[in-house]
Structures are given as structure tokens and as C-alpha cells.
């Protein structure tokens, strides 16, 4: 047959008629062409008109390295559309098309930067991982994992605004130049609470250049602990040294960092960090928690005192008294017998561990609590020396507060303000401060921000901020280690500017404002400044700089330690809490909580975080008022006390009914009106188990913008403040706050808005295990029935049904035609262990998985139905004890991440009619998306419900536009929207109608295996013989032990997930974990032989405590 020669169709003169196609194919658009011109990351600037620029997941590969552009469907080529390979014109260094390049960087944050390793494909960052060689490495949390999405956010600010309207860069340049040349300018700078050495150095230079300059620091929810310890001083805890930790409402594992927590988690495991020792309860730490509402740290606690926030100062004082610390009088005494007993037991325990314990107070607790915590630490000898608690002197000193800023504006001390904080002061400042009106008085306000939020619109100038992955900077981690922030890509939009670039511009004589590539392709001016700062820390010359860029940090560059010095206001601080009485039903406490997803509201436009359910309430896409069941009844919201496991009044059975507010897409929440501080807020409420009575918890940051689609038709219709992700989301509780009550308010009234309801998307609607030993717990304390710790350890695999179910046997042997085992790979058999003792349920794995595996978001409506796509479902169970002596209102909370278990005898596989899901030789339950026809039978037959179905084309059709998914072919497409640039090129983007699920990051496994195979060539070269004579040993093809991590494991700060090769034996951490007696298989009795197993949670209660017999008993008595 002769070769058919197909001619490249004549290019139309109008290049714009050539268009990229859908997923996996690029369409050739003008912006694409311009992009090609610039090559490599410089393409950034062409993102300006995104609607035209359609890209896809493999776009890195195709766009940059070997891009393909598809010339329409020219029917000239009747066999297939012609596509193009577009190589670089000049090859950039280090870029190998198809291979990831990794860079060390970090994410600046108020509690200390998170050191990161960034994965980039052909210049585009796609995935963040913790920098494991960093001394302050503490893994990543959901927010850090999700921050990469902000870079590509479609609602990201990309244009300069003048008074809310698009403006020209030249006009802004003039303003900056004018400011820079006016040395007497009455200029103020408002920074965030993160600590950047270069920024601090530039601040000093600004202070000397502008004599009238003032500097302030503000973030909405970081609290102010410095009153107790001194200006710029912060306390850090070395959890490795702390045998006992008392947390006074401090969520130190999650939202209220007090130092790297990995060490804390290491000591939650009786076998030690790497499961290398025999279970030893004496090596475990013990956590006491005093809190009003469940936090993830509270869930980890061995003893949890459920007490209203108002009572915490008195409790703290009582503890201090017991420990002999000096306590100013005036606080109400603790009178409740149970609490006194609890405090006594705690105090005795603390006394026995002098110098080896730590007391941490929540950063937003009243100053008095911080004074007390400090006093206790000092009394116990925990502070300084070799104690676990250390006071660090940071460089964020001499900064004014928001209140002082307001005073300065009102007093005319400044008339120009540069807002560089990541917070949104116009929106989130305490209501009584009325910051917005003062802000409006400024002659010039320049806001630098990644979002066009309320502050952006209230400012005279808004400059789009460069993402931290686009800018040069530096930062300090929680203990002050100098850490680089390096750009992966030039700003996607040409007008994006980093804070350092703005400060540098003001420091120049003529105010020349450069950003991005700076002057004609040179590096950003920020680069020079960072390098200059670094020279003072890490030394001059190329070598240390290169090392910094490679490692990401400078060793031994931590903060200096110091002695805390309380401000002079101790008496005043105590007086402020003196009148605190426990809340009553008529005068409730309202706690303003940091939101686990969107923090103080800054991540409201991050779809991953919005869709990730709140780890405690399991609510996604909204916030709500959380109220304990009994309080809800007392308030008349519910007629009955909502039980964990409701009992049918008719049959007397625990019949798992729908909630009184229905279930799934029909689930609503009852609306209430909260009145406090003279303000009211109407919002939905949810029942919260384990929360203090007479307390309403409302998380902050929501309700930033609304449009016509809002369910409650709220206003103002300021949808421009948010993107499609954040619009109409939640309820803004900031107006309820005052400066004096920015963490919690007293004297609130709650009215039930009879009949008014709001639909909510709850990812989990049934909160307890219903008698099933799923997330298992044991206790180090001897149990009357189950014996001592070792007996309980031995009993882990015999809890629940496993106590009496026969071992499932199979009639058949898993052999092939030649009698070989079906899981035939002799080198690799992958498996995972998840340690519930270390897992707090924080969602980091969930979001990391989403980033790694191209998992789409689906929007509130779909989540409410139960169609969320997360491959990891973070189940969270409350477990109350039946015993009348136990506090049924304070149930234990146990999380359990459930993803595909990779069952050896996977029920899903046998039912697939088309062989779309079968096992691979190395023990993975593989899923061939392109073979799947979508019968969904596999998912029905999955006992763990670990499979997710693409009910719609979530990747192609924007799920956030109202009803868009239901419009089918008429719906709006989002192909090529910027978030697609984040997609991992090594994972297929799934189309509608196919099933998907966790495959143990098979792309990483295959990458490791192929890398190992490639050593064949090295071995031949080493041998120096012709290749046929070189014998490649089996062993040399085995991936080195634990040499790579899967995404969830990598993200986990607790080290709760171990993944490895079963064939590696005890050398692999995973196998050591599985060898523990705590190891058990979820739903073992079905006989699926899951490759993922769990390690039961161990609670380490103090036997002297009144509640000790009920700790660690969530599942132990189940049969």
C-alpha cells in the first residue's frame, strides 16, 4: 500500500481561526502564539486574556517542551486532525520535557513559613511538598497544599485598579514615583504577621528614607500573645521534649502553630516515630485539653475538659494555683467538683514532669490566660534552658497595631498607606474600630493583594499581588530558620507585583517601579534585595547562595532565644477577665473561630479549600453557627436533644434515620439570629457534639460577596469582591466582633428563626460508628475487662465483628494457568498503613491528593448530594460511652481517612464487565479510565465506598456557575481556564461517565520503578562488558526502600501514613508499622484483604483522672 502523503493544510491568514481543542489538546490561539514567542515561563504575561487561552493538563508538555497545536479539524487529513510539536527555540537549562523539576521554596505564613519543595513541569508549579531536609519541616497542612491553586485562580486579581476601576500601569508608576521622591511623605505600611528578613531590612531602610513613615502589622486572627511575652517575642514548644502538654484552647496541631508538631505526633505512637521499638507507653506524651469547641487538637487529647471559653481564665488560674504559681486575685473560683478533680489530677501529673511539660495557650485567648500559661511554665521550669518551651525574639518589632493605625489616620499622622497584609482590614477589622471610615480618609491608599477584596475596592489603588510561587522573597519558619522563597514562574499576569518590589520601588530615588522580569529581562529587583539580605546571614559568594537555592534554608539561622517580659498591663489584663462567668442560656458565649478551610477569609476563593469539609463539622462551602445538642434544645431550636445515634421513638431501635433536617441534597440547617455586641447576624446552625453548653461557635471569613444566585437573596451584591468560588458563600460574622471581643463575645442572645432554613452541604451526616469497630481505639490504662495495655494491643484485631467472625476462606487459589501467583511481581508489592494514633483528621492528605491527582471540585450542590470527588474521604466519628459516669456530652472524636484500600480480593474488580478495574502485578487495584463505561457497579460493591464517579464533566463544565452542569452541551466550558495549568501531566484528567479512585499515586510508583529500571544502562557501563554478558540482578530492579512517597503520605505532618513495598521487609517503615499489634484491617470480616490497614489509636490517659476509665474506649467493647 502506498504511503498516503497528507499535506499540512494551508495556514489561514487569520491565525485566530486555529483553535485548541478540549482536554489534552491545545488549541492554537493568538495568545498561545505570543506565548510561544516568549518561550518558557515568560509566557506568564500572555495569561492576561485567559478566556482565549485554553490549555489542558498536559499543556506543560505540549505547550512548552513539545507543544502541539491543533489546526482545527482540517478535513484534509481525513484520518486524524493535524497537531504540531512546537519545541523551544532556545533550550532553557535544566528543563527536560516530560520530567519534573523540583525547587526548594517556602510559603510565608504568620506562624512561621512552611518550607516546601515545589514540583514544576516545564516551568509551571503543580504540586507542593514539604521540604524534608529542613530543620523546621513539619509537613504541610491543607492550606499550604491548596495554595498552589491560588496561583492559577480564575478570580485572581490581575489588573491594577484605581478606586475600583481598571487603571493604567503608567498612572500607578507616577503615583509610586511621586511617593518615592517625597521623603517627607506621611506614609504608613501595613504588613502581615509573617516574618521576612528582607522585608524587615527594607522596612528599616524605608524608615530611614521616609522620616515620617510608620509601620503596622495586622492579620485578622493571629491574636496578640505578645502582651504576655514582650514585643516581637514568641513562645515555641519543642514537642519532642514535652512529656505532658496542657493546651488552654490552643489548636497547636492545626490552626494555632506553636512550633513544629511532627515531634508531637511522633510521641503519639507507642512504637516511636518509625515504629522501630516495642510499644512503650512511657515514651508517649499525654495531652490535656481545655476547650469550648472541638478542635482537631482536642480530638487528639487524652483528657479533654469541655468548658466554656468564659471559664478558661478561671480554670487556668486554678491550675496555676495548684502548681504554686502566683496568680493575681479577682478571677472567679472554680467550684464545680468535677472540674476541680480534673484540675487536681492534671496538676499532680504536671508536677511529676517538671521541666518536661509544656503549657500552651491559644493565641487568641485573653492576655490573662497567656500570663497564666507563662506563669505555669515558669513554675514548672519548662521555660528556657533545656525545657520544652522557648521564648524567641523575632524581628517583627516596633510595629503598630490596627488600632494605632486608625488613630494615626484619624490624627493625620499618615495620609498614605500601603496595605501589604494578606488580611482584608476593611472587611475583617473589629466592627467597633470602624476601620473602613478611617481608611476612606486616606489621601492615597495602595493595596497590594491577590484578590480584589473589600479592601481592594476601598483603596485608591489596588495592585495585583504576585503569588509567593512567582516572587523572590525570604521568610523565617516557626523557629526562625532563614528560608528562601523563590519564584517558579514569572507572574502569570504582567501587572502582578510582590511586596518587596513595591518597597524597592519606594526606596529608589526616582521611584522606578519594576516587577517581574524587571528591566529588560533582568531579574526582579527583589532578587537583588533578597540576595543582599542573605549575604548578611549565609555569607557572600555564589556557593552559599547556590546551596540556599538548592536546600531552601540556612542551617543554624534560627531566632535568638530571649526571656519573656510581660507588658506592664498585667493587672489590667486580669481585670478584663475578672467578671467572666459561665454563660447561660440567656447570655451565651459566641466564639469567633478561625476557619479550617479559608482561615480568616483570605482563601475564600480557593475551590479546594472550600470543598474540603470542615474537619469537625464536615460542612463544606459555608460556615454555620455550631451549638451543642442540649443548648440547641434549650434554645428551642430543636424539640429533642439531638443524639449521636438517634433512637426511634416507635421501635426503640437505633435506626439511623435522616436528621430532622433531612439528608443529602435536601439537608437544610435551621436559621437562627445571633445578637451580640449590639449587632445581629442571621445564619444557619448545626449541632456540634462535644461543644460546651451555652456556646455558639461561628467561624469567620465568609459572606464576602453575593450575587443574584444567593439562596437568601442577601446583599450587598458585591460579587466583584470574590470569584465564582467565594460568591454567596457563608455568613459574615466579623461585624459581630469588637476589639475587646475579637476572639469571643459574651452576653449573646440566640433566637430561633422558626421555619427559616438554609441548605447546607455536609460531607458526613452520620457522626458515630453505630456499634461498628471501624476507627479503633485502645488505652494504655488497664481496663477492667480488656486487660492492660499489652492485652488491649493484642485485642485490636479482635474488636467488633472480628471478635467472633470466622476467618474468611477462599475456595480458590490466586494462581494463573501455569500455577504462578497472580500478584506475580517478585520485586514490589505496595501497601499502606494509616496510624490513627497520629492522624488528627486535618485534610492535608485530602487536598494533597486533589492536587496530585487532578481531582476536580464539584460545587456546593453536588457536594450536598454526595458527589464530592475527593479520593480520600476523611470520616470523623464521635464515640460516647454508655456508662452513666462518663460524660456523654463530651464524646471522643476519632478521624479515619478512607481511600481505596487496594484490596487483594477487591470486590469491585469482579463485577466490572469490561475489565476496566483489575489488579496489577504489584498489588494495585488499577483503574483504566479509558476502558470504563460507567456502570458504577464497582462502586456499589466497594464496601469502603472509596470510588468516585464523574457524574458530569466537572473538568470541562464549570460547576460553580449556577445550574451549569445541568445545561449539558449548552453549559459554559472552562477548558483552558487557568486552573487547568495546575494539572499534573502524569495523571489522566477524567471525563464524565468514568469511575475514579485512589491508585496509591501509581504515577509516582511507575516513575520510581522506571527510574530504577534505567539503571540497567549504568550497570552495563560499570561492568565494562558487552551488554549481553551483563546479568541484571532482580535486586537491582527493586526500588530502594522507602525512596519515594505518595502524595498523602508526603503531605502528612503527623507521619500517620506509611507507604512502602511489602517485599522490603522490616526495612520499610510501612512493614514495621503493619507489624505492630495495633494493625487491623477495616471490615476484615468480608475477606477483602485490603492492602491499606489501620493502626488503632492509642490514648494515654492519666489513671488518676476522673474520666480516665472512659478514655480510649471508642470501640473496645464492641462485638
Amino acid at each position: 500500500m502506498s504511503k498516503r502523503i497528507l499535506h499540512h493544510p494551508e495556514k489561514p491568514s487569520d491565525a485566530s481561526t486555529i483553535a485548541w481543542r478540549s482536554q489534552g489538546q491545545l488549541e492554537d490561539t493568538p495568545s498561545f502564539r505570543e506565548w510561544l514567542e516568549r518561550e518558557f515561563p515568560q509566557g506568564a504575561a500572555e495569561m492576561a486574556d485567559e478566556s482565549e487561552c485554553e490549555t489542558s493538563r498536559r499543556s506543560f508538555l505540549k505547550l512548552m517542551g513539545a507543544s502541539t497545536a491543533l489546526a482545527g479539524f482540517g478535513m484534509m487529513a481525513c484520518r486524524r486532525p493535524e497537531s504540531y510539536i512546537v519545541p523551544y527555540t532556545h533550550a532553557p537549562e535544566w528543563v527536560i520535557p516530560g520530567k519534573a523539576t523540583y525547587y526548594a521554596s517556602s510559603m510565608p505564613r504568620s506562624g512561621g513559613a512552611t518550607p516546601l519543595v515545589v514540583t514544576t513541569f516545564e516551568g509551571r508549579p503543580t504540586k507542593l511538598a514539604p521540604n524534608e531536609i529542613h530543620p523546621d519541616n513539619e509537613g504541610t497542612d491543607a492550606i499550604a497544599q491548596a495554595s498552589v491553586l491560588d496561583l492559577y485562580s480564575p478570580s485572581r486579581s490581575r489588573a491594577i485598579l484605581k478606586s475600583g476601576k481598571k487603571a493604567k500601569r503608567a498612572d500607578l508608576d507616577q503615583v509610586i514615583a511621586g511617593l518615592a521622591t517625597n521623603k517627607a511623605a506621611k506614609v504608613g505600611f501595613l504588613f502581615g504577621a509573617d516574618d521576612s528578613p528582607t522585608r524587615n531590612r527594607l522596612r528599616a531602610k524605608l524608615a530611614s528614607k521616609f522620616s515620617a513613615a510608620k509601620f503596622y502589622q495586622y492579620e485578622a486572627l493571629t491574636g496578640d500573645a505578645s502582651v504576655a511575652v514582650g514585643d516581637g517575642v514568641k513562645l515555641g514548644v519543642d514537642f519532642a521534649k514535652a512529656d505532658i502538654i496542657l493546651s488552654l484552647d490552643c489548636d497547636f496541631t492545626c490552626l494555632d502553630s506553636q512550633g513544629p508538631v511532627s515531634a508531637f505526633y511522633d510521641r503519639r505512637k507507642p512504637e516511636g516515630r518509625d515504629y522501630s521499638q516495642k510499644p512503650d507507653q512511657s515514651k508517649m506524651n499525654r495531652l490535656y485539653m481545655v476547650e469550648a469547641a472541638y478542635s482537631l487538637t482536642g480530638g487528639m487529647a487524652d483528657h479533654r475538659l469541655r468548658v466554656s471559653v468564659s471559664e478558661i481564665p478561671a480554670i487556668a488560674a486554678q491550675i496555676a494555683k495548684e502548681l504554686g504559681a502566683s496568680v493575681p486575685g479577682g478571677l472567679p473560683a472554680v467550684t464545680e467538683e468535677k472540674q476541680l478533680k480534673w484540675i487536681k489530677g492534671l496538676a499532680d501529673d504536671l508536677k511529676s514532669k517538671r521541666g518536661k511539660s509544656a503549657v500552651v495557650a491559644g493565641s487568641r485567648q485573653p492576655a490573662a490566660v497567656h500570663h497564666l500559661a507563662l506563669a505555669i511554665n515558669q513554675a514548672l521550669g519548662n521555660l528556657g534552658g533545656n525545657g520544652p518551651v522557648t521564648a524567641y525574639q523575632t524581628e517583627n518589632t516596633g510595629l503598630g497595631t490596627l488600632a494605632s493605625l486608625k488613630a494615626d489616620i484619624d490624627g493625620g499622622v499618615i495620609d498614605t498607606l500601603l496595605v501589604l497584609t494578606p488580611s482584608n482590614p476593611v472587611y475583617d477589622a473589629p466592627a467597633d474600630l470602624d476601620f473602613a471610615s478611617s481608611y476612606a480618609k486616606l489621601a492615597t491608599s495602595i493595596h497590594l493583594g491577590g484578590r480584589t477584596d473589600a479592601t481592594a475596592f476601598a483603596s485608591t489603588w489596588h495592585i495585583p499581588a504576585a503569588h509567593y510561587l512567582e516572587s523572590w522573597s525570604d521568610a523565617r519558619t516557626s523557629r526562625g530558620v532563614y528560608t528562601i522563597v523563590q519564584p517558579m514562574i514569572l507572574p502569570l499576569y504582567p501587572d502582578c507585583v510582590s511586596d518587596l518590589e513595591l518597597m524597592v520601588a519606594l526606596l529608589t530615588d526616582d521611584g522606578k517601579f519594576l516587577n517581574g522580569e524587571g528591566n529588560s529581562g533582568a531579574a526582579s529587583p527583589a532578587y537583588d534585595e533578597v540576595r543582599a539580605t542573605f549575604e548578611g546571614i549565609g555569607g557572600k559568594g555564589e556557593a552559599p547562595w547556590k546551596k540556599l537555592l538548592r536546600d531552601g534554608f540556612v542551617a543554624d539561622s534560627g531566632y535568638k532565644t530571649t526571656t519573656p517580659k510581660a507588658s506592664a498591663s498585667v493587672a489590667k489584663d486580669f481585670a478584663a477577665v475578672a467578671g467572666f462567668a459561665a454563660p447561660t442560656i440567656d447570655s451565651l458565649d459566641v466564639v469567633f473561630a478561625t476557619d479550617a478551610s479559608i482561615l480568616d477569609g483570605r482563601y475564600i476563593d480557593n475551590g479546594w479549600l472550600q470543598e474540603a469539609p470542615d474537619p469537625i463539622s464536615k460542612l463544606s462551602w459555608d460556615n454555620a453557627a455550631l451549638i451543642a445538642p442540649k443548648t440547641a434544645k434549650a434554645l428551642g431550636i430543636y424539640d429533642e436533644v439531638i443524639a449521636l445515634e438517634p433512637v426511634s421513638p416507635y421501635t426503640g431501635m437505633k435506626n439511623a434515620p435522616r436528621s430532622p433536617d433531612n439528608e443529602a441534597q435536601k439537608r437544610t440547617a435551621r436559621m437562627i439570629r445571633v445578637e451580640v455586641n449590639g449587632k445581629t447576624l442571621e445564619l444557619p446552625m448545626l449541632i456540634a457534639f462535644g461543644q460546651a453548653e451555652n456556646t455558639v461557635v461561628i467561624s469567620l471569613g465568609y459572606g464576602q460577596g453575593f450575587d443574584d444566585e444567593d439562596e437568601l437573596k442577601r446583599g450587598p451584591k458585591n460579587a466583584a469582591h470574590v470569584g465564582l468560588v467565594g460568591v454567596n458563600r457563608g455568613f459574615n460574622a466579623y461585624p459581630l466582633r469588637t476589639s475587646a471581643s475579637s476572639y469571643f463575645a459574651k452576653g449573646a442572645k440566640v433566637t430561633n428563626l422558626e421555619g427559616k432554613r438554609y441548605s447546607v452541604a455536609l460531607v458526613q451526616e452520620h457522626n458515630s460508628m453505630y456499634g461498628r469497630a471501624l476507627a479503633r481505639e485502645i488505652s494504655t490504662m488497664t481496663d477492667d475487662k480488656k486487660g492492660d495495655f499489652s492485652a488491649q494491643l493484642a485485642g485490636v484485631s479482635k474488636q467488633g465483628v472480628d471478635a467472633h467472625a470466622e476467618k474468611p476462606i477462599s475456595l480458590y487459589q490466586s494462581k494463573d494457568r501455569k500455577g504462578q501467583p497472580l500478584l506475580s511481581d517478585p520485586l514490589h508489592q505496595w501497601a499502606m498503613a494509616i496510624d490513627l494514633s497520629a492522624c488528627s483528621g486535618c485534610n492535608a492528605c485530602l487536598v494533597a491528593c486533589q492536587a496530585e491527582n487532578n481531582i476536580p471540585i464539584v460545587g456546593k450542590r453536588q457536594v450536598a448530594m454526595g458527589r464530592e470527588m475527593h479520593w480520600i474521604r476523611m470520616d470523623r466519628y464521635f464515640a460516647a460511652q454508655d456508662d452513666p459516669k462518663a460524660d456523654a456530652d463530651n464524646p471522643a472524636m476519632v478521624p479515619q481517612p478512607v481511600a481505596c484500600m487496594q484490596c487483594e480480593k477487591a470486590p469491585c474488580e469482579t463485577v466490572c464487565p469490561v475489565n476496566a478495574t483489575v489488579h496489577s502485578e504489584d498489588g494495585l487495584n488499577a483503574m483504566a479510565y479509558n476502558r470504563c463505561i460507567g456502570t458504577r457497579y464497582c462502586a456499589n460493591n466497594c464496601p469502603y465506598k472509596a470510588r468516585r464517579f464523574n457524574f458530569f464533566d466537572y473538568n470541562k463544565r464549570n460547576p460553580l456557575i449556577a445550574n451549569n452542569l445541568y445545561k449539558g452541551p449548552f453549559g459554559e466550558k472552562q477548558v483552558g481556564a487557568a486552573p487547568h495549568l495546575q494539572k499534573n501531566p502524569n495523571v489522566t484528567v477524567r471525563m464524565r461517565g468514568v469511575m475514579e479512585k485512589c491508585t496509591y499515586c501509581v504515577q509516582r510508583i511507575k516513575d520510581a520503578v522506571i527510574r530504577q529500571k534505567a539503571t540497567t544502562k549504568e550497570q552495563v557501563l560499570e561492568a565494562g562488558k558487552p551488554s549481553p554478558e551483563v546479568k541484571i540482578a532482580n535486586q537491582s530492579l527493586r526500588v530502594p526502600v522507602d525512596s519515594f512517597k505518595v502524595a498523602c503520605q508526603e503531605a502528612c505532618s503527623a507521619g500517620a501514613i506509611s507507604f512502602g513495598n511489602q517485599k522490603d521487609g522490616a526495612a520499610s517503615r510501612m512493614n514495621r508499622a503493619k507489624a505492630s499489634d495495633r494493625n487491623y484491617q477495616l471490615l476484615n470480616y468480608i475477606g477483602t484483604i485490603p492492602r491499606t490497614s489501620y493502626l488503632a489509636r492509642v490514648k494515654n490517659p492519666n489513671p488518676a483522672m476522673p474520666d480516665a476509665p472512659f478514655i480510649g474506649k471508642a470501640t473496645i467493647d464492641m462485638v
Binding site: G65, R80, E82, T89, H90, G98, D825, V989
Partner: protein, 236 residues
């Protein structure tokens, strides 16, 4: 009263059945031959913006594959040469050839039509998005370029030789010995197994290799090649 149906109608059903059977069978046969990658994909030979001849560069000049496809044994993806790879030589050689106009446009700043845009080569071999073929995994284990791409060194204009269908991949994954060759010969497109055996008589006798089949099987054993056939090998 006559018959309603004419007599010829008696054989009609049989005729229709035979014809329909033949037609359906024929269509099925035609479809199973023509509507497969073997005929639809193999043989694709688009015209490139520059009539680059692999025959001249590889066969006559003797360039190694990796001079241009420089990361093919390192990365999963085989890169197409960047503009400056071409320019390295062609700023000196054949500089004035009109065929090189696109290269000048993209790299020669003195060229009147210079626009700096990269050359758009027309893709010849295309794996679907859900297929993760890895070049390095094959080249480093003794599978030559030739096994999938044919005698590129003999092609004036590149075309696709093999179907690159999944069934075709599986054929080799089931019996890799048919395509394995010594690692030294992976980039040698003129390789001939029998010739190799003849040229290495000592070693081959030592290894007990007499025929080309022996060589393939020996290499499979020596290199420990056990290709996988499960989905996740290629689909992720």
C-alpha cells in the same frame, strides 16, 4: 383467484438472506481491517514545515538519534530538537538553503522575516492522553527506536510505520524477546541480529547463543525483562 405473490418471490427471501449475509460479512471484514489503527494510523506521513530528511542526517551524515532527541533515554517524553540545535550546524552549513526559511525566521535575527517563533513540526506519532508511554523505560532496557518507529534512518519524510495500537503494544509486552537487542545497539538502526551474532562469535558461544531467537531470549534473561500487562503499566 391467482396467487398474490408472484412465483419469483419464492426465492427472494433466500436471495436477500444470502446478499445481506455477504454484505454484513463484507462490511465486518472491511471494518475490522480498515477501521483499525493498522490502516488508519500507520502510514501517516504529513508534510513538515522544513523538509527535514532523516536519511541525510542519520544515514549519510551519521548523526546519533540523541543528538537531536537529546532526552529520549532520560525522560518518558522524546523531545523534538530545539531551534538552536538545528541552528548550531545550519548557521554554518547550507545556510542559504530556501528550505531552511522557517529556521531563519525563528532564529536568524539578521533574516528579514525574523519573528522568533518556534518551528511547528507536524506530529507524526501520537499516543492518546491516557497512554503514558515512557521512552526511557524502553531504550534503557534494550528496545530500539526501530521497534516502534521503523527505519527512520531510511526515511526522507518521516511516516508512522507501526499501528501503535494497544494490541500492538501488548504483542511485544507478551514476547519482548522478538525486539530486544544489546544495549549498545539500541540506537543503531542498521542493527541486524544475525550480523551481531556473527560479529561477536566468542561471546555468543559463551552465552550459548546460536540463532537470533536465542539472542532475544538470552537478553530477556540477562536483562531480567518482565514486561507488565496490567492496566497501570501504561494508564494512570
Amino acid at each position: 383467484m391467482a396467487n398474490f405473490f408472484p412465483r419469483w418471490s419464492n426465492l427472494l427471501p433466500l436471495k436477500i438472506a444470502v446478499c445481506a449475509g455477504a454484505a454484513v460479512g463484507g462490511i465486518a471484514l472491511a471494518f475490522s481491517y480498515y477501521a483499525t489503527p493498522k490502516t488508519l494510523v500507520a502510514g501517516y506521513q504529513p508534510t513538515q514545515p522544513i523538509p527535514f530528511s532523516h536519511k541525510i542526517h542519520v544515514d549519510q551524515i551519521g548523526l546519533d538519534c540523541r543528538y537531536c532527541h537529546s532526552f529520549v533515554d532520560v525522560s518518558g517524553h522524546s523531545n523534538v530538537p530545539t531551534g538552536n540545535t538545528c541552528w548550531n550546524c545550519h548557521q554554518h552549513v547550507q545556510r542559504e538553503s530556501p528550505k531552511l526559511a522557517p529556521l531563519h525566521r525563528s532564529l536568524d535575527k539578521s533574516y528579514p522575516g525574523y519573528d522568533g517563533k518556534p518551528i511547528e513540526w507536524v506530529r507524526v506519532h501520537k499516543a492518546p492522553d491516557y497512554v503514558y508511554f515512557n521512552h526511557s523505560a524502553h531504550l534503557n532496557r534494550g528496545i530500539s527506536c526501530q521497534s516502534c518507529h521503523g527505519r527512520i534512518d531510511q526515511m526522507e519524510v518521516v511516516y508512522q510505520v507501526e499501528s501503535h495500537s494497544m494490541g500492538w503494544c501488548l504483542e511485544c509486552h507478551r514476547a519482548p524477546e522478538k525486539n530486544l537487542r544489546p544495549l549498545e545497539e539500541v540506537f543503531n538502526l542498521k542493527y541486524d541480529a544475525q550480523q551481531y551474532i556473527d560479529q561477536h562469535p566468542g561471546e555468543m558461544t559463551e552465552l550459548g547463543v546460536k540463532t537470533t531467537e536465542d539472542l532475544g531470549l538470552k537478553l530477556k534473561a540477562q536483562f531480567n525483562v518482565n514486561p507488565k500487562m496490567s492496566c497501570s503499566t501504561c494508564h494512570r
